[in-house]
Symmetry: C2
Subunit: 469 residues, 2 copies
Amino acid sequence: MARPVLLLLSASILLAPTLSAQRRPAAPNPIQREYQQAADRIIAAALKDSAAWNKLAELTDGFGHRLSGSDALERAIDWTLARMKEEGLENVRGEPAMVPRWIRGHEKVELLEPRYLNMPMLGLGGSVATPRGGIQAEVVVVTSFDDLKAKGAQVRGKIVLFDVPFTSYGATVRYRGGGPVEAAKLGAVATLLRSVGPYGMRTPHTGSMGTAYDTAAIKIPAAAISQEDAAMLHRMQKRGQRIVVRLDMEAHWLPDSPSRNVVAELAGREKPDEVVVFGGHIDSWDVGTGAMDDAGGVVIAWEAVRLLKELGLRPRRTIRVVGWTNEENGGRGGAAYRDTHRAALDKHVAAIESDGGTFKFRGFGFTGSDSGFAVVNQISKLLRPLGVDSATAGGGGADIGPIMELGVPGISHNVDGTRYFWYHHTEADNVDKIDPRELAENVAAMAILAYVLADLPGGLPRGGKVVGR
Amino acid sequence: MARPVLLLLSASILLAPTLSAQRRPAAPNPIQREYQQAADRIIAAALKDSAAWNKLAELTDGFGHRLSGSDALERAIDWTLARMKEEGLENVRGEPAMVPRWIRGHEKVELLEPRYLNMPMLGLGGSVATPRGGIQAEVVVVTSFDDLKAKGAQVRGKIVLFDVPFTSYGATVRYRGGGPVEAAKLGAVATLLRSVGPYGMRTPHTGSMGTAYDTAAIKIPAAAISQEDAAMLHRMQKRGQRIVVRLDMEAHWLPDSPSRNVVAELAGREKPDEVVVFGGHIDSWDVGTGAMDDAGGVVIAWEAVRLLKELGLRPRRTIRVVGWTNEENGGRGGAAYRDTHRAALDKHVAAIESDGGTFKFRGFGFTGSDSGFAVVNQISKLLRPLGVDSATAGGGGADIGPIMELGVPGISHNVDGTRYFWYHHTEADNVDKIDPRELAENVAAMAILAYVLADLPGGLPRGGKVVGR
């Protein structure tokens, strides 16, 4: 084997100049020259232990899921505020927001024909109840809005099951709100939805139906069943079997109730009224513990600021951690933040949200001006130890959306999305699915971004063409 | 880039003689010369459609799970026998076996302190009930039998949770039966078990506790909770929190009830009284639909014989498909088969069982004599189109165990095991987890093995050293 190996070696020697030219790092940009040392300290501090994971476990183990209007949410907010104060974060407060209050109540879906089966299910957020005693009806399975139209004549008085195979979240989730609305127009009495996700272990996924449903003239009850059961009912229909289901739901709304956005700061040393706002949402759906959606986003920002404080890295401007309330079924926290801080939005340097999971860090998404995008790209070079060195155009988040509409540049925290929709809005969204090292890397990345944005002498420029919209 | 590429090519030319020597196939063995053509026909026929998957879907969609003593099991057996007759299989019959009948009944486990949580759970097979109203007690979490001993003084009057991380099934499943027995000796009032599996989505796994529990002097109720909840309770204990749980179970035994082994044959053309016996178990746990455990094993053997018949491949000896009953919680089907056929066991060429899942085929495991092992290895060369060309020492199955003890060589059907214990004994063991192509490949492999074993002029030799025990 000696000769071939030597030949291969000589081949690689010949290749060497080309490759090494490709690999030679560019000269450091001004942000790297100024901030690489601080960035490296932040990374080392974030990765030295599992503090972020332990905090996330304590929060989610301690309070469980946190639907708007629930005691658990308010107790989780109390605990978070108290812990932030203990840690010496500054200006710690709850900023009020009234939130809607949807109650799932008892719910059940039973297959009656061709055989009995009590199917795992979750009512969709915002659904109305069934009449007392439930709705018992034949099922018509459809695979798309077009298929619904084609079967329109068969739908009246039936329960429509949307068995839409998962392609992307965006493409599939349209059926969550749109399905019940369209089926109701054709006289359906209820709808079932194949849970929106690429994989499950007989795992239903809930989620909001949104304004399409909330404002519809006719509202019929709507629930998600597992991907497995949806596929099975579809096979039964193909076999020509009569399918009968009984759906029983007590879902209802109560009057709005008071909640709060969690707010804490690291006050700026030179321009404390200028702000980088930074966080995730503290509420969740009423299943699992909402660990990646989105207690993780809150903990990332919280831990980032705690670390900066611990390292003595106080930037020129203020970094404000926010745990928004009511992202999942109303967005009232994001709206309340906008209303509370409306007069100060021109002093908001940027808004950063983490609400896409807490897996392996993949970079930042940016919406703003191209001059600002260039700076975020330069900041991204600081993250090479985390395997990232550039940003992507297009970013934001549901909670920062209202202030982005008023001109604040928005940045999203992007992570590997392979498994996010396995767990999203399910009983399986728990801290054990989150890797402590990956979470710590996210804390490091977000701390560096927030610190540099808040410290840059010239701030984040807003001139030039629009990027990311 | 041209020069380096040329150099790499010349390197690979120099490597070529060595590699090609390694790759040159050995001369065909006598079994290949005799049977490769038949094997190729079988493979082509099995892979031409999704007949096996469709049959498995029809069986599991149609009857659901099939615990011993249930109507669903007996109706599934009726359906299978009728369908086998329709397809023209021979000597189709149910062979009687009395089976135990364990009823799960209502069951629930609630965390009461430090916070309320209704936890997904499954009582372990064979467990006794709690007293009416349930058992409410503090929880002590242990990680092993040694840890249980170390905490022995704290256990009296408590509920013990075995939070044993999954390593292998064999190493971890010991706690399913052994945990409740050992905890009871120390005065525990009930046990919980971290579900036995490497991964879950808040998915409890049931399974039998076996004779260790059934014959124990003191029986306490035992249930599995999800891996996630077990880990959470363990973290709570580490934080010094008091953990209180209420466990409520109605589990109980009813008198034994009649069931049957499903039997169908392709009668031998020369020696019909000599038999290759071949199958899986038709019963399942009372969750999911028992698609991979083990309706798939039954369907593989059934489809294999249907294909042989369709192809006109009638071997010298008889191939007997068996769907054993009651593998999961009693093994009465395997024992009944032994007792019914005791006088004919010296005419059993071999027994083949598929009960390890229906994923990508990986070969056969063999227990018998080294002369027989050599033949099974030669047969394995026929399976090269399926990516397999040898067998491994050590094979068998719970249902063929009783006749293997009386000297019948045993062969197991091995598949990729990466995900088997994700689904095993859970609500997620459903046909959608099985790939139609992989299932068809398993049918092909098993059909070839059974056909050649039944057709070999000299049968399967039994001389020489013991292999696989």
